[in-house]
Symmetry: C2
Subunit: 509 residues, 2 copies
């Protein structure tokens, strides 16, 4: 059987730019995983990993022009955005290098022996070890920050796990280019290049998650694709953790007082958050609760104006464009739904941004029976649903219909911000049950790479309780091991009494 | 349909002691879960949880005579062992109360805003919140420490999660008694009694893991039962984490030098670890690598003597007794397997302890084809398999055949203990890939309740990378939430700038 070609496609024209690779056959996936597994020992030394991550960041930065140009040619995301995304990506690689150097990710705990206890307590020393080969499934919408050199790869390598990335078909050339830079960085720091591999093709992705030597997976993408891989990971003879970020509506609530105070600012800001990256962000606000009445009308008026002034955009690929147009059409056709700014086809290869509007009571009264639950599903692209609510009870009832989310956002007035308690406190409490990150008086887009970040949330936002962004993302690729009464000379250096690596530890005497 | 009765049975006679309860119908499971879910808010206050856990420990201690007598009557584990197990159980409840008071389980991280960054970093404050109702599946072999008042319950309640326990059919009366004490402790500390519930019956257990309001599960038991529940948890529309401890062989390696140095001590110690609790420990050594030759013969000689001197014991129930007798029979019938001390039926209700022996090369050469892989499966009860090895390579090859384990144990000579490097270091490295806890010159039985403990390991030892014993067990029932630019007055007290609760935090400026 001839190999299936993998093409790089220009979404601005729909034309093939060139063949980049071929889809990996099962034997090729097996080869990549076995080579990565064989290379895992080389990643055991923390100082080498630190050097590798920094070298990778430096090489990516040094190749910025080529990386950005390649990514723009096959994603149409624009060089400005992609330059920023590359900076985020290399910053992320360096942040994980810093985290490895600092060492608290090892979560070292030492209990000294206590023979006086009943029963006597033996000496216990615990730290974390890498799981083994990690499968990473690249996202369509971030060809760098959530793809080959992205957060899953960076955190897995930082943990000491080799990585096999299943490239996204929307940016195979960028994937190959970035992989070559990562592998060059590996070699430059004395590591075998096999610590990073890339495979292409849907079938290869499924092979990967089923491979006996793959010990964990990270995924960013759709609910359908993510759930299929999650199910395959759970059905293995030896199940493995599958950390998937699947889908999120990212609800926003604008209080009546906030609308009264700064309707135009909120409406304009919302338009920006909905159209950023042509609406292709995991944390795009997809459902916005705006009060009924004149102040709410000013919010939607500003939203209307800003969206009408937004030019058409190019989506990542033509299937996405078709799915977006169809998704908007289906939603707009529901009873009581209006389209104040009609999102949909722009030119031959573009789409225009817009929004839909619906009364809260339509959602609440029809819950589960009227077809309006479609409005509570993510629609990937530059569109949002504005839900007009009469009172706090209605807003809470709509929130009560939602599944898990990556983020939930609240716009408050100055008085509500200062006050504490009241409806704002109730909404924060409801948000905490609903989402992984809660934002006040801002927008959820722009997920900061920072130690306290959490980019995850109740299902389907994520399939596990971990984060794919921020300092604690490294925890996904490690497991604890405890050493009981193991003589000092036989302990890993991280756990030796003299603490030769100077690592942070929690000691119980 | 008449309700199915739940009987308490005396395993010493096989006779029913009395009907304790009925199996829960689906509507009853639903009622227990809904009531627990409705009660979850009452567990939000940390000080109340601390008081509750301590009151529960005090009540259990005050009722020690009755608890131990009831547990002994339906498990035959003996009052000495059960008195110790109760102390362990109440110590565990108090240890989690202490952990809640100390607060580092919340893993609080605060990143101050940094407007000078590109892009500007917003303020982020992250801590962990309870998941919701936890389903706990009680173990047969620890009617207290891994059952109703055990580690899963204690850690879930400490995290702020209500608990519905599926009782084990081997000790329904103990389960009901302990539940009544826990519920009394709840009421005494101002909590609704519904924060702890108990249900009986296999069907009830399956209903529980599928219930939409159950958000996580903890399990200790067999591979078959645990995997069925794991699969059900993963197949839900909203999958939930399933922390199961399923099965473990707990390999032991006795080096040639250790055998030369203290063969009798090792053989006798091994007999004790194999027969403790009539061999019904998750960490019973089930496979022991002993060198060929005279020193190894002295190890097995001491083992033989000690086992022959061990009286017959009563297993937890009659199905277990039959499974044990049949499991030993099947293994003993394999080619090249001998039974120096034949484990098997004792009196009408008892079994005698014993061991099987097999050359390492039989296992290695026959791997996967000869039927000898049965020797690499846990056999619950007072039996172990002694594998005689010619050299380190053979020992390593046998270890290479094993699945994941809770523990791995190494017996070294004084010189090997002092030396570092060499074969001991290689074995420790191989153990680290294979097990969650590594023990040197001791026995894996007796899992200390301590901050650095890890009781888990690669599948099938555990279905997740968490621990069911020790300080970090609480992490299983929590998920992180990040608050971005949330005004101080609207933050949970745990995250407020003034730190009113005095909690440990990691702050990035």
């Amino acid at each position: 059987m001839a190999a299936t070609p993998v093409w790089s496609v220009d979404p601005r024209t729909g034309k093939q730019r060139g063949q980049v690779a071929v889809e990996a056959a099962p034997a090729e996936v097996d080869g990549a995983v076995r080579a990565a597994h064989a290379a895992r020992g080389a990643l055991a030394d923390a100082a080498t990993r630190v050097a590798f991550l920094r070298a990778a960041a430096d090489l990516l930065d040094a190749s910025a022009a080529q990386v950005v140009e390649t990514a723009d040619a096959e994603t149409a995301l624009g060089t400005g955005r992609l330059t920023g995304e590359l900076a985020r990506t290399t910053g992320q690689l360096r942040a994980f290098a810093d985290a490895v150097e600092e060492g608290s990710y090892l979560d070292i705990r030492i209990d000294r022996a206590d023979p006086a206890r009943t029963p006597p307590r033996p000496e216990l020393r615990r730290y974390k070890v890498p799981l083994g080969v990690v499968a990473v499934y690249a996202a369509s919408n971030f060809p760098l920050a959530f793809s080959v050199p992205g957060g899953d790869t960076a955190s897995a390598l930082a943990a000491g796990c080799p990585v096999v990335v299943k490239a996204h078909p929307d940016h195979p050339a960028t994937s190959e280019l970035c992989a070559s830079l990562l592998r060059r960085a590996a070699v430059a720091t004395g590591l075998p290049p096999e610590v990073v591999a890339v495979v292409h093709g849907f079938g290869a992705g499924l092979e990967l998650v089923r491979h006996p030597l793959v010990s964990a997976a990270g995924f960013t993408g759709s609910i359908r694709g993510g759930r299929a891989l999650f199910d395959a990971a759970a059905a293995r003879p030896v199940p493995i953790p599958f950390h998937g970020e699947l889908g999120s509506l990212n609800p926003v609530v604008v209080t009546a007082a906030a609308a009264a105070e700064r309707a135009e600012e909120i409406g304009t800001g919302l338009a920006g958050a909905v159209t950023l990256g042509v609406g292709q962000f995991c944390v795009k606000p997809g459902l916005v609760l705006v009060p009924e009445g004149a102040d709410g009308d000013r919010v939607t008026g500003a939203l209307t104006k800003a969206l009408e002034e937004t030019g058409p955009g190019v989506l990542l690929d033509h299937r996405m464009r078709e799915a977006f147009i169809e998704g908007v059409r289906e939603r707009a056709a529901l009873p009581a739904v209006t389209s104040p700014v009609a999102a949909g086809p722009g030119g031959e290869h573009t789409v225009g941004a817009g929004y839909l509007a619906v009364p809260a009571r339509t959602l609440v009264e029809g819950a589960g029976t009227s077809g309006h639950e479609l409005l509570l599903e993510e629609c990937f692209g530059p569109v949002t649903v504005v839900v007009r609510y009469a009172d706090q009870g209605e807003a809470a009832a709509v929130l009560g219909l939602l599944c898990g989310n990556l983020s939930a956002t609240l716009h408050l007035s100055a008085a509500e911000t200062a006050g504490g308690g009241g409806p704002a406190a109730e909404l924060i409490a409801q948000f905490t049950a609903l989402a992984g990150r809660i934002v006040v008086n801002g927008w959820p887009t722009g997920v900061a790479v920072a130690p306290a970040q959490h980019h995850g949330g109740p299902y389907p936002a994520a399939t596990s309780h971990s984060t794919s962004v921020g300092g604690t993302a490294i925890e996904r690729w490690l497991r604890p091991v405890a050493y009981q009464s193991v003589p000092d000379a036989l302990l890993p250096p991280e756990l030796r009494e003299a603490n030769p690596l100077g690592l942070p530890r929690r000691v119980t005497s």
